[in-house]
């Protein structure tokens, strides 16, 4: 999907050279439609052999029994070695004790910011706690004036709010994903923190369709902070004009009391059960898991390798923008591993939108959200109860 879909073509010639008997056909999907498309393909028995899956989707497809178990393949492999992977990421691929995917790259969200505008507003270093962040945002807003903003938080993207929610102590879903936990004090604080950014005029009430070109706007200072992922390192380097290249930097997300957690995202490579070319697919997975190839992949796409060895290569170790990510990866937390997560995250964002537009206050919104989430999880509760007759 996305940028990975575009760059993988460049990695394939080497693979096909080493494996002349294997020919790989790529199909690209846009992220916004990938989830639907994959489920449609599942429903229509039209899945590919190998696929990139967002790691929050792995539990869902595992619940559909669509994924091949990879434990034995991993055990026999000399390339894919569990110890070399960031543990938090490796674990997101286990469902019911079975390995269902191999991490391909990690993704988390950090702050991208205009260091020059921040420094003009009086802050020489990026904020590390919510307090500092609020002060920085207020200062930047004052500096840029009423026609511009301090931070861009597209209202249709749930990752920033999710990260803030994951920074809290209480889990987002209670009782092994049976009930919604959004009415907890922690999430309410996170939601309040998020929505106040709009209330205070620090963030524009826009969806990503309302911004015609994120990079142009960032370069023009329309906003100074942006929460985004590793792919944007390359995009920023590519698309920002030369005179702006020294004016931006990345930093880990501030948390309530100091550097905070962020989403443990990323993609895994999975083999669908319907595949009739499992050994060939596995060889492609092994190839893409080699540290050298992972570093090359990083060069092409900006995505970050999930293996520590890859991070030791000069290319990554020397990239100043990647440092924030390396730091953040020590503090990543996964989203709840339930198949319905995609839908729940959507509901969460919709509720946030309602609060931003003043249709509900935080209390009502979180109670309503929990009500909806409980309804969404009803079937899951029924299925879990059925599984354990007690």
């Amino acid at each position: 999907m996305g940028r990975e879909g575009e760059v993988i073509e460049q990695l394939l010639p080497e693979f096909e050279r080493r494996n002349p008997d294997i020919h790989v056909q790529i199909q690209q999907l846009p992220w916004t439609a990938a989830h639907e498309k994959l489920l449609t393909a599942f429903a229509g028995d039209a899945l590919p052999d190998l696929c990139q899956l967002g790691n929050t989707w792995v539990p869902e497809f595992a619940a559909l029994d669509a994924l091949t178990d990879l434990d034995s393949l991993v055990a026999r492999s000399s390339v894919v070695r569990a110890e070399d992977y960031f543990p938090g990421i490796w674990e997101t691929n286990f469902v019911d004790g079975r390995m269902k995917g191999i991490p391909w790259y990690v993704d988390t969200r950090v702050l991208f910011f205009r260091s020059d505008l921040l420094s003009k507003a009086g802050f020489q270093t990026p904020p590390r706690s919510w307090d500092e962040w609020q002060r920085a945002l207020a200062a930047v807003k004052k500096e840029v004036g009423p026609a511009r903003y301090a931070i861009l938080l597209p209202l249709n993207e749930f990752e920033p709010l999710l990260a803030l929610g994951l920074q809290q102590e209480e889990p987002l879903l209670r009782d092994d994903g049976r009930w919604g936990g959004f009415s907890s004090p922690g999430f309410r604080r996170a939601l309040d923190f998020y929505t106040q950014m709009f209330r205070n005029g620090w963030a524009p009430s826009l969806t990503d369709a309302g911004i015609s070109n994120v990079w142009t706007e960032f370069a023009q200072g329309y906003f100074s902070f942006y929460i985004s992922g590793p792919w944007n390192i390359e995009e920023f380097k590519r698309r920002l004009p030369a005179e702006r290249q020294h004016d931006w930097m990345t930093a880990p997300l501030p948390g309530p009391h100091g550097p905070g957690a962020s989403t443990a995202g990323g993609s895994s490579l999975v083999i669908f059960r319907s595949s009739r070319h499992v050994p060939a697919a596995w060889r492609l997975i092994e190839y893409l898991s080699e540290p050298v190839v992972q570093v090359r992949f990083h060069e092409l796409s900006g995505n970050l390798p999930p293996r520590r060895t890859a991070w030791q290569y000069k290319r990554l170790a020397g990239d100043v923008y990647a440092r924030a990510f390396l730091d953040q990866l020590e503090r990543v937390r996964p989203a709840p591993a339930v198949p319905e997560w995609e839908r729940i995250a959507n509901e969460m964002q919709l509720t946030a939108e309602l609060v931003v537009h003043g249709k509900m206050n935080i209390e009502e919104a979180t109670r309503e959200l929990d009500r909806r989430v409980d309804a969404i999880l009803a079937k899951r509760r029924w299925m879990l109860a059925r599984r354990k007759p007690s």
């Binding site: 209202l155 309302g210 919709l350 079937k379």
Partner: protein, 292 residues
């Protein structure tokens, strides 16, 4: 071979296709609406439960369904009259003896009808962009503050209505035009002799003679507008704040985004009943008026 048997041979292929790929699924949808068919059932049919009218009860208690219904009604109640008025108006203009370059104008006014909705929705989205869109720029020239057309819940649906009217008015215009041309000149002559002004001619000659067409056009346009889907899908994804979620969009999300075929079929059934009721009501009301 007997004639009737051969006749069946003529209709059989078409009837087979329609029966198997339309009527049968419609009937099945009714059944599906009574189950909780979802992604778990898709994986394993044993996870399917028969739930009777529970889906209906649940959907009718879902606030988003009512919002979708409200949005759709908004679209229909504002869009249909607007569309018909523009169609009728442009037909009258084209029909006028004073109009020049008729074929050229007719082609221009009809062009939007044949364009692909998705392509046009994409263009519209850029035209109505808050900062760089043509529309806001033009409005800005006369001193109007930039409007966040597609980002403000109050203006998103009106924007979609504008798009629908722009795209479709040519269709009904052509129908009106043909019917206007079918009104015999003598009737107008008679009215003029009686001293009727242009406006009176319109009210007492044109409108009554167009009445059946107006009804037909009204029904078709209404039924069509209830099926609003592509515009929200391409332009707003149902937002902002679900203000552009139509009944069909809601159904699509339930069915093909979240794979709750049971719920989606319920919504589809409800939509069908709704369209049927409205069009039936239409015909009833106008029959009564015509009778009285």
């Amino acid at each position: 071979m007997r004639l009737s048997a051969i006749a069946w041979g003529f209709v059989a292929p078409a009837l087979l296709v329609i029966g198997m790929f339309f009527l049968l699924p419609v009937a099945t949808a009714a059944v599906l609406s009574l189950t909780d068919f979802d992604i778990y059932a898709l994986a394993d049919l044993r996870n399917l439960r028969f739930v009777g009218f529970e889906n209906y009860a649940r959907v009718l208690q879902t606030p988003l369904f009512w919002q979708a219904l409200g949005n759709t009604f908004y679209f229909v109640v504002v869009g249909v009259p607007l569309s018909i008025m523009v169609s009728l108006g442009s037909a009258l203009l084209l029909h006028s003896r004073l109009a020049r370059f008729k074929p050229l104008f007719r082609t221009a006014l009809f062009a939007p009808v044949v364009t692909t909705l998705v392509a046009v929705a994409v263009v519209w989205r850029y035209l109505f962009q808050t900062r760089y869109g043509m529309v806001n720029y033009a409005l800005g020239q006369i001193g109007v503050h930039p409007i966040d057309w597609l980002g403000d819940p109050r203006t998103a649906m009106p924007t979609i209505i504008l798009l629908a009217v722009w795209k479709n008015f040519g269709y009904n215009m052509v129908i009106f035009l043909a019917n206007l041309q079918a009104i015999p000149e003598e009737v107008y002559e008679a009215a003029r002799i009686d001293g009727a002004s242009t406006f009176q001619q319109f009210v007492h000659v044109t409108l009554p003679m167009l009445a059946p067409t107006l009804l037909l056009v009204g029904i078709i346009t209404t039924a069509g507008y209830f099926q609003l889907f592509a515009e929200p899908y391409v332009m707003t994804q149902g937002g902002p704040l679900r203000s552009t979620v139509s009944v069909l969009y809601f159904m699509y999300e339930e069915g093909f985004k979240w794979w709750n075929f049971g719920t989606a079929s319920t919504v589809a059934m409800l939509l069908f009943v709704l369209i049927f009721a409205v069009t039936w009501g239409f015909t009833r009301v106008t029959k009564n008026e015509a009778g009285a």
